[in-house]
């Protein structure tokens, strides 16, 4: 029963995504040009990383307001290492991932070890990471990134498929593997689903929370570096507008806000839908600010549907 509902849940999203695609393609034939598909997929690549970064904290029943701020800090550090210290791409990438994970670990440790509210901790670190970013860069971009990175940001791997899709696909696969196959992933979901039950079964709730935040930080960092590759420069403003979209995709994709359940396919489909809407507004020359309106509305509709669904009795969990 629940399973069939679940399936319907993202079947609906899939139908919307496909419909949107078809509508766009018929109304604007140029939509299907290779370059447009390339652009669409590049957008998708970045947005997916951002959405996954928020999804992993939602999985454990928390949230990460500092996602964009971590992304921005990693982005400028990544570019800065290449620009100022002339590091090559690979070690910079590693350092960036490590920095993202470290930032996430800081969040996680503050939340789990000191039992603080995730909201207020990540609000504080949002300001701190952003402050570090500005202090490091003096708000000026780093231009001289490794040629490999700038080439990567523009490259395609066959037809309209952008190279920046590679890290996204890899990250998605890793996240899916962790949540569906690895004990630590299951522990994160168990903590999000019922933290007292997980504690009783010997799961270290603290470790699960910290791990989720480390993953979130690493994904945010990766997203920041993909943004650098796409923009071809280390902009300090990277990440400033990730907040809404980072929540929109998982929430629309059916990820439980209370934790304990992730839907990777749903989140991916939601990212596609949001990207289609953004593109559609540009294509039809609608005021781009409607994007904000539509995103906010979608979130409300999604949570509204979720709370409706939770009213339907299915088994004991509804008692």
């Amino acid at each position: 029963m629940a399973k069939s509902i679940l399936r319907q849940e993202w079947l609906g999203l899939a139908v919307i995504a496909v419909l949107g695609f078809v509508v766009m393609a018929t109304l604007r034939p140029s939509f299907l040009t290779p370059f447009n598909l390339f652009v669409l997929m590049s957008t998708f690549a970045l947005a997916t990383l951002i959405a996954l970064g928020q999804m992993v904290t939602l999985a454990v029943g928390q949230l990460n307001l500092s996602l964009g701020s971590v992304g921005g800090l990693v982005a400028v550090s990544f570019a800065g290492l290449m620009d100022v210290w002339h590091w090559s791409a690979a070690p910079s990438l590693m350092a960036g991932l490590a920095l993202g994970a470290l930032a996430g670990a800081l969040n996680g440790i503050l939340i789990a070890q000191f039992e603080l509210s995730a909201f207020i901790v990540t609000l504080a670190t949002l300001a701190m990471f952003k402050g570090l970013n500005l202090a490091l860069t003096k708000a000026q971009p780093f231009y001289h990134i490794d040629r490999i990175v700038s080439a990567f940001g523009n490259a395609s791997i066959g037809g309209p498929i952008p190279a920046v899709l590679i890290p996204t696909v890899m990250a998605t696969a890793v996240v899916a593997f962790i949540f569906y196959r690895l004990p630590i992933g299951r522990q994160i979901l168990a903590v999000g689903g019922n933290s007292s039950a997980s504690e009783l079964s010997g799961i270290s709730n603290k470790r699960a929370v910290i791990t989720a935040h480390v993953m979130s930080g690493a994904l945010a960092g990766l997203a920041g570096m993909v943004a650098v590759a796409r923009l071809q420069l280390g902009q300090p403003t990277i990440g400033e507008d990730w907040l809404i979209s980072s929540f929109a995709a998982p929430v629309i994709g059916g990820v439980a806000l209370t934790g304990g359940h992730v839907s990777i396919v749903g989140t991916l489909l939601a990212v596609v839908i949001v990207a289609l809407i953004t593109q559609g507004l540009v294509l039809f020359a609608v005021d781009p600010f409607y994007v904000q309106l539509v995103l906010g509305g979608l979130i409300l509709v999604a949570v509204g549907l979720n709370s409706l669904r939770s009213l339907l009795p299915i088994g004991y969990s509804s008692l």
Partner: protein, 508 residues
């Protein structure tokens, strides 16, 4: 000896209350052992000590004749104590199999999970319980009984030597309960020691081998074979022969012209929570008791009456007038109806707020002046006499209720309804976790209230309390009223009557 679990001289005190005072318990291997006692006797505290949730102040715990110290629930389960709590401890979105072997998943970090292996293991344990379910189903789709079985399977999968079950049949149908008992007997035959907490003497008699009775935080009986007791003896042990004598008996309620119209009347009421065809009436000055086992639906009925849950059919009458109570606010302020919650800490009082704020909450709206202004002194002048009368002991009227003892908290929880001057008061388990003296005081208070004309619907699982206070006792079972007993205050007779009626309908 073949003792799987032995407790000796367990003492556990909480601020203001001694919950357990030198309790001993011995559970033999390959037996089903009943732990019984009235509410507040200390069963749940004892269970929490056995399962490592609480630590005893004094006393020893032995598992297989070895002294053990449980620093947390995990330590208890490592020593082979498996527990199935009254509330479910499952991960809703996980599959049955994964829930069963959750402890294995907890033990590893990066080794990829082999779901085939997990499903095989899960299936193996489910089959042992003779349960035919697809182990890949998420537990959120299971019925309460099935979910409980999954927890039992999980406890067994930990190679538990002792399986503790807390009120396992509270939310099961009799059919499901029978299935559970078959499994428990089978486990016993395989050598598992089972400690069963239950209120239902019928099921204890048919299932258990041994029994320990607790009363007021002490052993009413030491652990011994059940064969030595008949039901009446068990009831005697539970309720205490002379306990009723401590209670000041209430002069019976008499129907007069002034209270001929019931203050509160339910006529064929059904609720969205599943109550069917409930009819009852409470007159001014009358105390009507509502007795039943855990899960009978008494608290839920009370909450439906005060407007928290909708009444879907039938009629609710207050002073003879049919009413629809949409929310608690109108119950209180329009119909002068109050409810003293059983869950004192979560619903009865606001722990972080002051005595004054708690006692005055029901009269704020009434006392407010122009611009809704309302001063402390104004509230104080209204509630202070009551707090004095109730003898609420607190450092000051501004002290947080958190810092009061359970009894004083309960007094505060009642004080707000006295302040509101409600005409109808539903009192739910007034003396849970409260020491004897305060309890006696509360009983006196309730009787005085009735004498002053308040209509009282008393919900209690404490039989002596019920017999001492109620004028009539209604029995509730499975969200229906099943019986009514006129209370003549003859404790032995009434308690036996109630017990036999409630147990008689337990498995029909």
């Amino acid at each position: 000896m073949t003792l799987a679990l032995e407790l000796q001289g367990i003492v556990k005190s909480f601020p203001g209350v001694i919950a357990l005072n030198g309790v001993s318990l011995a559970v033999e291997r390959g037996s089903i052992h009943a732990l019984i006692g009235e509410n507040g006797a200390g069963k749940s505290t004892l269970i929490k000590i056995i399962t490592g949730v609480h630590r005893a102040n004094e006393g020893t715990i032995k598992v297989d004749d070895r002294i053990v110290h449980f620093v947390n629930p995990r330590a208890a389960s490592r020593e082979g104590i498996g527990v199935v709590h009254q509330e479910r401890n499952l991960i809703p979105r996980f599959s049955i199999a994964e829930n069963i072997v959750l402890d294995r998943i907890a033990a590893k970090t990066f080794a990829p999970i082999n779901y085939r292996e997990i499903n095989r293991l899960g299936e193996q344990w489910l089959r042992r319980l003779e349960l035919d379910l697809d182990v890949r189903r998420p537990v959120s789709s299971l019925t309460a009984a099935q979910a409980q079985m999954v927890e039992i399977a999980r406890a067994l999968s930990l190679q538990s030597k002792v399986l503790v079950l807390d009120e396992p049949t509270a939310s099961l149908t009799s059919h499901e309960a029978e299935a559970l008992f078959r499994v428990l007997r089978q486990l016993r035959d395989q050598g598992v020691a089972i400690l069963l907490v239950s209120h239902k003497l019928e099921e204890i008699e048919s299932l258990c081998d041994c029994v320990t009775v607790l009363r007021d935080g002490r052993n009413a009986t030491s652990s011994g074979p059940l064969a030595g007791y008949d039901r009446a003896a068990l009831v005697r042990a539970m309720v205490g022969r002379d306990f009723a004598l401590e209670q000041a008996a209430r002069i019976g309620f008499t129907s007069t012209a002034s209270n001929s119209v019931p203050a509160l009347e339910l006529d064929g009421v059904s609720t969205s929570l599943g109550h069917r065809d409930i009819s009852l009436s409470v007159a001014r000055g009358e105390i009507v008791g509502l007795y039943g086992l855990v899960g009978a639906g008494r608290t839920e009925l009370a909450k439906s009456i005060i407007g928290l849950h909708p009444i879907v059919s039938g009629e609710l009458r207050v002073h003879g007038r049919a009413v629809r109570i949409g929310d608690v606010n109108s119950a209180v302020h329009r119909y002068s109806l109050g409810y003293v919650s059983e869950d004192r800490k979560a619903e009865g009082v606001i722990l972080m707020h002051s005595v004054l704020a708690n006692a005055g909450i029901t009269i704020w709206a009434r006392l407010r002046g122009a611009l809704r202004l309302l001063s402390d002194s104004r509230i104080l002048s209204n509630v202070d006499p009551l707090l004095r009368r109730l003898d609420v002991k607190a450092a000051s009227r501004h002290a947080a209720v958190r810092n009061l003892s359970g009894g004083n908290q309960q007094k505060v929880s009642i004080a707000k309804w006295l302040a509101a001057g409600v005409e109808i008061l539903i009192i739910d388990e007034p003396s849970v976790g409260i020491d004897i003296r305060t309890k006696a005081y509360l009983h006196q208070l309730i009787m005085n209230l009735a004498d002053q004309g308040t209509a009282i619907l008393l919900i209690s699982s404490d039989l002596p309390e019920m017999v001492a206070l109620a004028d009539r006792i209604l029995l509730m079972k499975d969200f229906r009223l099943v019986s009514e007993i006129a209370n003549d205050k003859d404790y032995t007779k009434i308690s036996a009557d109630i017990m036999s009626r409630i147990q008689a309908v337990a498995f029909d």
